[in-house]
């Protein structure tokens, strides 16, 4: 029996758990816990350790599917998996959520993180959620990746459908494993396994599942994930005590910061960033301005072209964590 391993990684909500559930012949092992950070905008549960599933590809070939947790704070698990469990994997599948404001930022981030691991392995970029957000399309990805110096396979998949995810596996193993009849395998998976309904639905009632299926049939332009606002998501994030959402003109759209002192300080920081954006654009984009001290909450302003986010956070929270949470909040913010 030939055993193969493939590792799935990608941002929170990119579909890692769903993809593995779609293919696995066994009840998948997952380690879901309630979300306690910016991912609350997209789902109630998230993977905190790893996902694992098995696919019997033929009588003589078996595939072990591993998924990393998406959040950067579980990075230690990525290292553990790379050096131990999946050190002998054939490929890394990077799932990219097309609804993120800048999917290429995610690609760059994960490729940096897994650079050494990729030296001897195949990379597949699998784009998900393109039914909700069609752009960037395949041609755009190929062109941008070429500009980034990355030449690899890009597939658009729907992680809920086994035959769609199977295309990724085929791209990795078709030439290596001649014993697999890919058409037959696809048929078997589709016949015996209904599409996986994501996230919350694993705990939802039948009527709720039906409602979700109906929701998924709606046109792509309808935003599915606006139930939790940016402000609510920020407030659900561990260590964040207040938030201020600003538009492209750097005017405040919404805030829940009660301290007038913090509000005034954040506004002055935004004014500074606005002035610098105009005057010293030649030095590059301003990403953030952070103000901290031993006796006061940390105040931060994170800036993107179309919006900005001001945050108050507990002084004990590390600046790296604040930054990562802010980036995630901005990546999912709707217009």
């Amino acid at each position: 029996m030939a055993d193969y391993k493939i590792l799935f990684t990608g941002s929170v909500c990119s579909g890692k758990t769903t993809a593995i559930r779609s293919l696995s012949d066994i009840e998948t092992i997952d380690t879901d816990a309630s979300v306690s950070d910016s991912a609350i905008r997209r789902k109630q549960k998230t993977t905190i350790a790893m996902d694992y599933g098995v696919l019997e590809m033929s009588d003589s070939a078996r595939l072990h599917l591993y998924g990393t947790p998406g959040q950067e704070r579980f990075r230690f698990m990525w290292q553990l998996m790379m050096s131990d469990l999946v050190h002998d994997a054939k490929a890394l599948v990077l799932l990219v959520d097309n609804t993120r404001n800048d999917p290429f930022k995610d690609i760059k981030f994960y490729l940096d993180e897994f650079r050494d691991y990729l030296v001897q392995r195949q990379l597949i970029i699998a784009v998900t959620h393109s039914d909700q957000q069609a752009h960037p399309d395949h041609a755009y990805y190929m062109n941008e990746l070429k500009n980034m110096g990355i030449f690899t396979t890009v597939l658009f998949i729907d992680a809920r459908y086994p035959d769609s995810v199977l295309e990724v596996i085929k791209a990795v193993l078709a030439e290596r494993e001649p014993s697999v009849d890919w058409d037959e395998l696809g048929k078997r998976l589709m016949e015996h396994r209904p599409p996986v309904i994501e996230d919350q639905s694993c705990e939802a009632s039948e009527s709720e599942q039906q409602e979700q299926i109906e929701q998924e049939k709606k046109p792509a332009e309808i935003k599915l994930f606006n139930a939790v606002s940016l402000m609510d998501a920020a407030m659900n994030t561990r260590g964040i005590t207040g938030a201020m959402h600003l538009g492209a003109d750097r005017k405040v759209l919404e805030t829940n910061i009660s301290s007038m002192q913090n509000q005034a300080m954040l506004k002055s920081m935004v004014n500074l960033v606005s002035a610098l954006e105009q005057k010293v654009a030649f030095l590059g984009h301003i990403d953030n301005l952070v103000l901290c001290g031993p006796e006061h909450e940390t105040l931060s302003v994170f800036v993107e072209e179309r919006q900005a986010l001001g945050l108050c956070s507990e002084k004990e929270l590390s600046l790296s964590v604040v930054k990562q949470q802010a980036m995630d909040l901005l990546q999912w913010s709707g217009e």
């Binding site: 002192q261 913090n262 005034a264 300080m265 002055s268 920081m269 500074l272 610098l276 010293v280 030649f282 030095l283 590059g284 984009h285 301003i286 990403d287 953030n288 301005l289 952070v290 103000l291 901290c292 001290g293 031993p294 006796e295 006061h296 105040l299 590390s318 600046l319 790296s320």
Partner: protein
């Protein structure tokens, strides 16, 4: 003082540093005048507002382009400014500065 700034600059952590006294730079190892000017303007403004609004913040970080400019308020109201690569772990920068801050303040 310039020798002291030489100790603050550390390969892989801090590329250059300067001291902001009032609204002027008193001593500097910055090679890029543009970054030095931005740091001067930005941290003057930030710490003026800290004083005005009576908050107790004493440290600021501004990420611009591929660089991070960090300002640390010293006891005598001077500001120690340093520049690092944006990808350098900010904790390394902070630890290094907090180690040498007493020497600069002395």
């Amino acid at each position: 003082m310039k020798e002291l700034l030489g100790q603050i600059d550390k390969p892989g952590v801090i590329e250059s540093s300067c001291i902001l006294q009032g609204a002027e730079i008193s001593v500097s190892t910055f090679v890029s005048r543009n970054h030095e000017t931005v740091a001067k303007k930005a941290f003057s403004y930030v710490f003026q507002n800290v004083t005005k609004l009576r908050t107790k913040h004493d440290e600021a970080h501004l990420e611009i382009g591929g660089k991070r400019l960090s300002g640390f308020m010293l006891q005598d109201q001077r500001v120690l400014i340093c520049m690092s690569d944006k990808n350098t772990n900010v904790s390394l920068v902070r630890d290094h500065i907090y180690l040498l801050k007493p020497k600069v303040e002395a």
